[in-house]
Each structure stands twice: as structure tokens, then as C-alpha cells.
Symmetry: C2
Amino acid sequence: MYIPTYDDMLAAHERIQPHIRRTPIRQSAYLNELAGCELFFKCENFQEPGAFKVRGASNAVFGLNEAQAQKGVATHSSGNHASCLSYAAMLRGIPCNVVMPHSAPQAKKDTVRRYGGKITECEPSTSAREETFARVQAETGGDFVHPYNDPRVIAGQGTCAREFIEQVDGLDFAVAPIGGGGMISGTCLTLSNAAPETRIIAAEPEQADDAYRSFKAGHIIADDAPKTIADGLLVPLKDLTWHFVSNHVSEIFTASEEEIVDAMKLTWKHLRVVMEPSSAVPLATILKNRDHFAGKRVGVIITGGNVDLDKLPWING
Amino acid sequence: MYIPTYDDMLAAHERIQPHIRRTPIRQSAYLNELAGCELFFKCENFQEPGAFKVRGASNAVFGLNEAQAQKGVATHSSGNHASCLSYAAMLRGIPCNVVMPHSAPQAKKDTVRRYGGKITECEPSTSAREETFARVQAETGGDFVHPYNDPRVIAGQGTCAREFIEQVDGLDFAVAPIGGGGMISGTCLTLSNAAPETRIIAAEPEQADDAYRSFKAGHIIADDAPKTIADGLLVPLKDLTWHFVSNHVSEIFTASEEEIVDAMKLTWKHLRVVMEPSSAVPLATILKNRDHFAGKRVGVIITGGNVDLDKLPWING
């Protein structure tokens, strides 16, 4: 297991800067009053493909040597990683193969195809996915870019925290959602080196709280099939992300489904940005743990903005 | 009639800068491809009270002398001007009286009250509003700040275009929605002096196209009670705004209700910002007049982001 270093993150930032946006910080006096602290929201939902995952994906894609680049990249994902990897591959002009269950939402498939990604569909089970992926990789020779348990991906995600501390001085806390732990690990990598006084908080849905239970138990606990509206946070920690979480995260807080939806609507209304349910988990946990954050400067990463506008969770139940 | 000058706009900018946000520019490669031009969206929906109107309101409020400030300000409006004027008055710590029909949406009343504005309700007719407003103004001595036909307001709105041309070089077009014409007039004031090569386009709903018809006729035509989803654009031009529109606007384009809703949804999806139907009219007209904008650099002002999240026009019809 190769653990990415601070220098890897710096190299990633230099590599990907022409291909990503330096996303802006949003604030709301109203939300500050509500939360009792000063909130700074970094809008990764404003990346072109709508998620921070374009950072790690671009680092992997643009770091390939020419020989490997000809064969392209491959992954299995039905979420933002698939579209971000396709997007990065499109920018470099190389192939991207994605294995996706045929049950994945049509909108996700459309986005991957819009960016030139080639989808191979499989049955929606772990064994089918692994078999299909092995076959696709053997046929194409594409370099496997894991959605989060990959040092190149973690180094890439860490560039977000680097911009954050350049944009906002003296953050007491950095809060991000946790699923597989890619963003949190990148945040740990950067802040433990460049801003060790900033405490890192992971925010997780109560109904998919495997990271919270892992954190308490001291070893990885993976859930079988958690169900939550925060559909970007269903996957478990892996060895690399566990390394960062167990060494550098100070707390994992959880929020209920209702609290997540309330926080999502609050953000849409007062920050006026479109973000996914997964991205609302940090604000939900901050509002639930006001004492922990009282009077502090709190950085929140809005991780993504790809949401089905025809099915909003506060409309028709 | 006093016509505000370029120096008034510069003075307004210096006066209001501590109280407003310098709003960011958003871009989307996808929307650029769709429109066939390079689009730059200036996010005035990111102002704290959610609309560009905080610029003109702040210029009026912070320009009052101490004696007048003690008596505060007053206006009649059921829209963003009422909440933005209340917000600016709250920042200065002076009274703000607002006359509003009792039929105005509860959310609008709540926002005005949240910012400390005092609402006097009236019957929803022009005569009732005028009578009630005259009484309130006589009682309070509040300085009347008209939503748009006021040189201080127009000078304030002009600060948005000033930031825009500082942020984006070489705009071929600036496109903004037109209702009473406050934003368009401020844009004309600034650009006719500082960027005379940038053509100014006003965008209007077909179902409230009084500015379009005025522009063609060469004199103000006011509609009685236009109906459009773009509820910020219902009011007619007045003498001051007509001055700017008739002298400096190069085209007025219109869009249907369906085109406005489509453009609104496209922006939410691809820019990932929450904006009002009124703010979608520019993109709707650009997509409808691709030839006019082909290959050009087009600045679009997203005027506001106060929208009822429980009633989105693409859900349930």
C-alpha cells in the first residue's frame, strides 16, 4: 500500500490546475446565525462535471504515461466518479471504460456517454460487477482508477483543501461528507501538513454509519447494503482511506435522513446553490452539534451538485 | 428628472462596497456548446438577500444624511426591492416601512420582517396602494425609494456591470432581464461610458412584453396586468428607465413561458445555481436567437435567487 504524500498532492495540483476550476467560497449571514458559527462553503458542485471527483480523476488521467494513456482508463461506478473520469479522459482524448449495473439511473448513463465514456452494463451484484470489470480490463488494458482507494485519487482530492486554506484564513474546522473516504482522506493529507491546527470532521448519514462505527471500533466495518438519500455515501472505507481517517479525523458526526433533507433545502434557499443530498450531511451535523462549533470558523466542502431536479426530496414526501 | 451620471455610479460603488458582495462569475462548457457562444453568468442571486436590488437599495440607504436617516426609508413593493431595502436599512440601523398588498406571498412578508422591515398591508389595487403609501410616508417621514425609477437606485444597479467588465474582458454582449428597467438602466449607464462596444440586450417574457412594444413604438406602453411566471418583470418602464432603454439598448428579445422554464431548469442543472424564473429569461432568449450571439462573448446577469422551492414550475406541470 502506497500512502500518498504532501508532495504528491502538490504535484497533483500543478498537474490538474488547467483542467479543473478553482471553486469559489459561498457564505450566508443567515446560515451563520442559524448555526452559531462562521460557515465557509467551498462549492465543488461548481466543477464542470459537478463534483470534486474531477480532481482525483484528472490527476490519475493526466499522470498516465503515453503508452498507458493510449489504452485509457477503466472503472466501476454508478456515481460521480464515472462521469468525472469520463470527463477527464475526454479532456486528454483517451478511452474511458465504465462498468455500471444496468439498473443505474438513465441520467447517470447519459452523463458518462456525453463525456465519451463507454459503458458496459452488468447485473447489479458485486460478483457480476467484478467479473464484468475483469473482462473489460483484460480486453482494453485500461488503467483501473478506483473511485477512492487509489493514491492518485486521494492526492487529487487533497487539492481542494489546499485551495480552501488559501482562500480562507484560520479555519478551526473542515467538515466534509464521508462515504468511501476519498475527499476526507485528501483533506487529511493536506491539512495535517499545511494546517495541522484545523480539526477535520467527517459527516455521515445515520443510515449508512459504517465509517462512524469503524472509527469507534478501531477497524473497518463494512455494511452490506445501506439505504440513505445521500446516495454518494453508500460505499465502505478501504485500507488507504482508513489510514487517513483513523490517523487524522477528530470526530465523525451523523445525521438522520430528515436532518439531511432539511439542511439540503436550507442550503438551496439561503446559499442558492444546487447540491446533492450527500453534500448536505455536513451542515446537518453542524446544526445538530452547535456547541461543538460555537463561534468557530468552519469550512464545509459542498462535494457535488448532480441531483435529479424532477424528484426533490421535500416535494411529494 | 435627474439622470444619474457615470460619476454617480462610481460614487455608489464606493459607498456600497462594504455592504454588498462582489459576486462571482459562473461558466458551463455544456451551456456554451448548447448556445454556440461563450456565456459568463454574473451571480447576483448570491447577494445576501438574494438579488441585485441590494445594490440600488444600499446606495439610497447609505447616501441619506443623518437627519433623513433617522426617519428611515419607505417603499411599496411585494418583491425583491422590499426585502433588499429592509436589509440595507437593517445594516444601517434605520427604519424601513413597506406597503404591500395583503395578498402578497407569506414568504415575501417573512423575509421583509426578518430584516426588520415594517409592513403595512393594503388592498391589492393601485389606488389602495397609493393611498396607504401616502399615509405611511406622512406618518413616518421615510424617504421614498422607488424600486427602479430613482437615480440613486439606477446608479447602484450600475455597479454590477462595473464589476462584470472588471471580471471578464471583451464582452460583446451584456444581457439582462427587463421589468421596470432598473438593472438594464444601470447597465446602460455603466457600459455606455466604460465599454461602449458592448451591446446591451434586454430580455423580456412574451406575456409581459410592454418594454419590447415600447421600444418598437418609441414611447412607453404600460400593460394593465400582465401574467408571467417571471414575477419580477411585471412592472412597466418609467421616465428615467425609458431614457436609458431608448438611448442605449440595442435589442429587446422575448421568450415564451415554456422557453423560460426550460432555461431555468437548464441553469439549475448545469450551472448548479438556484435562480428565479425572471433570471432565466436572458438564457431563454439567447438560445432562441443563436445566430445573433454565435461565437461571441456574452455576459448574462442572474438577477435573483428567491424562489419558492416547494413549487417548481417543472414539477407537477
